[in-house]
Symmetry: C2
DNA sequence: CTACAATCGGAGTCTCCACTTCGGTTACAG
DNA sequence: CTGTAACCGAAGTGGAGACTCCGATTGTAG
């Protein structure tokens, strides 16, 4: 039994502590699931109590697993970033190079309205250190998408990744706050895609 | 001209009450100025106390003039909406039809980072009744801008106002949360402008 | 089975903020 | 100048939410 616990670094992955008691592990999972749902629906301002209730545990249990509301939020953002980066990388390696970027764009904007966490994650100016790695991975995956689309001739060669990310973030935020009809979403995306295409004037 | 309709609605303009005592009028003005500055800098979550302090009055004075924090916020938004609508209308009547829309876009996005109130106003899904009129005026002015640009041949004829507003809101929000370098802002706007231009493929 | 340490959970604390109250102050009519 | 009604402002109230404490509960080693 390791009496002394020396933990120089907090591990934010799914199973951080060793020999975690069974109920503790179960509750931890429940809390993470509940937190992801609540944060996605109501944003970071959702109360910890609501998360505890949705998870079916007491509020004290939440704060034992995550000493701070912020730490819980970071754990969720970490998970979200990892998933998003994986999806994007899959699209970059397996998808049709000519259209993969547009698919990624459309899919992300579509889901933005339902997943506030994703938008908050993307919009953050100063990325917390704990989620920096997956966010970097996401950026690299987008870079691949842009590069392939440019090689395939569906995106202008002078377009760079920062402005693509800027457009993505902007569209996600706008669609989140002002729920778009599918028709409006399609037309708005069409304008951006047209602007990215080689047919457009460079101005 | 709209027919005269009598609406029992509180007047939110600068001088609502008649025969307001001199010091009261002065304080009211100070509060409005302070609130606009603070809300623009910190958003709607800024505390009333900070506004009172910046205005140089007690917090009680703020609540006498504006019974609710929300009513104060609405008064500011009303003023902002009126100003923005006037600027836009001026651009619609006096500016070069071919470029006025782009000028409006660029100017608004440029100022977004410093004026959170404007972004909050534009992004609101449900416009409060008290500011609906100037917001409608703004929308009409944008409609004129789009129409003139289309007549001048600088914007595709199939583009409609809703998607233009959606793009504007998205760009403003993104530039607000993630401060853009002027260079990035220019490149991002260039993509959108290219997408609006007739040279772009319709998809 | 039993002991015990890890875990649970919710009442309690602390802080922040919107909003109220009321005694002191001041503009202004007469 | 003077009375007074309007106005001022800071201490006070209430509620919400993040975080803590500690007796009760429970998984698990032996």
């Amino acid at each position: 039994m390791p009496n002394d616990q020396r933990v120089p670094e907090p591990d934010l992955s799914a199973a951080p502590a060793r020999t975690l008691r069974a109920d503790a592990q179960r509750n931890r999972t429940r809390i993470l699931e509940a937190a992801e749902a609540v944060f996605a629906a109501k944003g970071p301002s959702a109360s910890t109590e609501e998360i505890a209730q949705k998870a079916g545990v007491g509020i004290g249990t939440v704060f034992r697993h995550f000493p701070t509301k912020e730490s819980l939020l970071k754990a969720i953002m970490h998970a979200v970033a990892v998933r998003l980066a994986e999806e994007t990388r899959a699209l970059a390696t397996e998808g049709d190079p000519a259209t993969a970027l547009f698919t990624f764009f459309t899919r992300t904007v579509e889901q933005a309205a339902e997943k506030k966490t994703v938008v908050d994650l993307l919009a953050q100016a100063d990325i917390p250190v704990t989620v920096a790695k997956p966010v970097l991975a996401l950026r690299e995956a987008v870079e691949v998408l842009v590069g392939k689309a440019q090689q395939a001739g569906t995106v202008r060669p002078d377009v760079r990744v920062p402005e693509v990310m800027a457009l993505l973030i902007g569209l996600c935020q706008a669609s989140l706050n002002t729920p778009w009809e599918p028709d409006l979403r399609a037309r708005t995306l069409a304008i951006v895609f047209a602007g990215l295409s080689p047919a457009a004037a460079t101005g």
